[in-house]
């Protein structure tokens, strides 16, 4: 079961690009990398998922180097509403190995 390590907190200002890096040194061949966003008193919400290289959607980009031992979530031009906790998960496709760490608390300042 791959463990992940993320910074506990980050601060940014509106309009800036934010990059949150997650370390997963013992990621397995079958594991995918998924990022979730959680607002207070709500359940986590899926942001993006990838296996290798770069993935981009309307919300974020996910950069995964060739060794896959880390990944970086990139949020372009953050706004105050992006203030949330961001979780990095590494799991296989059997749905039985979800482990949510403490996540990264992102605070976007005006």
């Amino acid at each position: 079961l791959a463990k992940t390590t993320q910074p506990i907190s980050m601060d940014s200002y509106e309009g800036q690009e934010v990059n949150i890096t997650c370390s997963h040194n013992n990621i397995a061949t079958n594991d995918y990398i998924t990022w979730y966003q959680q607002f207070p008193s709500q359940g986590p919400r899926f942001i993006i998922q990838g296996y290798k290289t770069k993935v981009t959607n309307e919300v974020a980009s996910l950069f995964i180097p060739a060794d896959r031992k880390s990944s970086t979530l990139s949020l372009p031009r953050v706004s105050l509403s992006d203030t949330a906790v961001y979780y990095c998960l590494v799991d296989d496709n059997y749905g039985q190995n979800f482990v949510f760490g403490p996540g990264t608390r992102l605070s976007v300042l005006p």
Binding site: D31, Y32, I33, T34, Y36, S41, Q42, G43, P44, R45, F46, Q49, Y51, Y87, D91, D92, N93, Y94, G95, Q96, F98, V99, F100, G101, P102, G103
Partner: protein, 114 residues
Amino acid sequence: SQTIHQWPATLVQPVGSPLSLECTVEGTSNPNLYWYRQAAGRGLQLLFYSVGIGQISSEVPQNLSASRPQDRQFILSSKKLLLSDSGFYLCAWSLVATTGDTQYFGPGTRLTVL
């Protein structure tokens, strides 16, 4: 489209009282179902998961139990609540896929045990 419901939204219970939280999923069949607990300011702790009716796996020993009487219904129960059971309880579902699994979470139940 798929939706997931949880109720109640908030609950205040005395120590030693029973508990029943319900979760239902609409718009999908044979989902994997999960119960998580989140203490204040902490990450999510997986309590139970189920891959089918009557199939429950427990991740953490505790005084809680789960049941799945129907394909899209997942129930979290306790016979006697403890103070330490307070927290934010989240139900989630996923479908096994050839790509990485993605979980979809319900709105949660905030439980306060007094």
